[in-house]
């Protein structure tokens, strides 16, 4: 574990220097996977077949690129070294998922002192061949937004889903930037309450 943390530190410093600006996403063509039912020929194949999936899982759980990149890096650095390549594809995926779960839990303990999000088994298997954004998350977001008053819904949509700045959102809503800020905080708090209610 100590070694793992040391590795993470190195990785974080490494990536901190090369944080890429957000770029428009290229169209994702349908992907055929390298391997069929059996096993991967080498670590290379494990990586190519799983990097996309692990990154998406992590992004969905931390919501930002720098952390998602670090955590994906950590999963592969941790998992690939002791990996038996002769294991079946399903075993390798399960092992990567288990590693991802641990890495995410450790991340939250270190950054915020409590687990904000967790990885669940059943979702992992679903996310193999998704388009750019996981439809499950979009559906979840829409369900929550639908429960909110109109103005709350609009400000969250503008800020979170449409990537508007506060200024742009304020202009769109016809209010001052200060008011937009307050509106956003209240809207988010209520969205959290709705999400909690839905989860229970």
């Amino acid at each position: 574990m100590g070694e793992l943390r040391a590795v993470t530190g190195v990785v974080q410093r490494f990536w901190a220097k090369r944080r890429a600006p957000e770029r428009p996403e290229p169209e994702s063509p349908p992907r055929l996977h390298v391997v069929g039912q059996d096993s991967y020929p080498d670590w290379d194949a494990v990586y190519r077949d799983n990097v996309d999936r692990v990154y998406r899982l992590m992004f969905a759980k931390v919501g930002n690129r720098p952390d998602a990149e670090d955590l994906t890096t950590e999963v592969f650095l941790t998992a690939l070294r002791p990996l038996r390549v002769s294991a079946s594809v399903a075993e390798v995926r399960a092992y990567l998922n288990a590693t991802a779960r641990t890495v995410l839990a450790t991340h939250w303990r270190h950054t915020l002192g409590r687990e904000i999000t967790t990885l669940d088994d059943e979702r992992d298997t679903v996310m193999c061949e998704t388009p750019a954004t996981d439809p499950g998350i979009i559906a979840q977001a829409e369900a929550i937004l639908a429960e909110l008053p109109e103005r709350y819904r609009r400000v969250l949509r503008l800020r979170f889903l449409q990537a508007c700045s506060l200024k742009e959102a304020a202009a769109e809503l016809g209010i001052t930037v200060g008011n937009a800020k307050v509106l956003q905080h209240r809207a988010l708090r209520q969205a959290a309450a709705v999400a909690e209610r839905m989860a229970t």
Partner: protein
């Protein structure tokens, strides 16, 4: 007083920055979770960048490559018999590649040959179906690829793009293998001809191939039943 920390966390998320650490209280968790979920639902944000995928690949290759055992150059030479045709293809690759710009080359792999531990020789064509200069696709379940006869030598390469694993299509007139996903093309000997990626993908893995009693056979992992 963590309300301010929560606000800063949300601000960082929205600006696509790494959120700063703070001691979150139990009452903060729901709000942070909602912010992450809404942010992750932004269309088109969830996929890794090409740059990240290539960078991590290089890093892993550096860390794991050293543990791959002694180089097996001797056996590689056995498979990659250099023929006049292969040399010509390699020359062509060089020229074409210049057109795609002066990007970095991927690190050359130590051995391109796929050598299954418990492989079996499987027939893919009769010798007559593969005349000099011919290219024939095959799919054996565990491995799909293309076999060619050039300069009297048989050669088989994997039919899976080394970038993200899309199935390559044979452009028979041009004697090229084209990837439908990112416009990468390979020569039938597996070398990369054209690509538009930040980093050149590795050449296609080579499969062991032989001619046995008039039948062309490839060594592949056994199909499990």
């Amino acid at each position: 007083m963590s309300a301010r920390d929560v606000r800063r966390f949300v601000k960082d998320l929205l600006r696509q920055r790494r959120p700063r650490r703070f001691a979150a209280g139990p009452e903060d968790a729901a709000e942070l979770r909602a912010a992450i979920m809404l942010r992750a639902a932004r269309p088109g944000g969830g996929a890794p960048t090409e740059e990240f995928v290539a960078g991590l690949y290089r890093r892993l290759a550096a860390e794991l490559g050293g543990e791959a055992g002694p180089p097996r150059a001797g056996r590689r030479r056995f498979v990659q018999v250099t023929t006049a045709a292969a040399a010509a293809a390699a020359l062509g690759a060089g020229a074409d590649h210049l057109l795609t710009g002066g990007e970095q080359e991927a690190q050359p792999p130590t051995d391109r040959t796929l050598r299954p531990n418990d492989g079996q020789w499987r027939a893919i064509a009769s010798a007559g179906e593969l005349p000099e200069g011919g290219v024939k696709p095959f799919d054996l379940g565990t491995v799909a690829g293309f076999v060619t006869r050039s300069g009297g030598q048989l050669r088989a390469v994997s039919g899976t793009c080394t970038h993200l694993g899309c199935r390559l299509a044979l452009d028979a007139p041009a004697r090229r293998l084209a990837c439908p996903c990112h416009r990468t093309t390979f020569a039938v000997d597996g070398t990369v001809l054209v690509h538009q990626l930040p980093l050149a993908p590795p050449p296609l893995p080579v499969l062991l191939v032989r001619e046995n009693a008039g039948v062309v056979e490839v060594l592949v992992p056994p199909q499990r039943t």
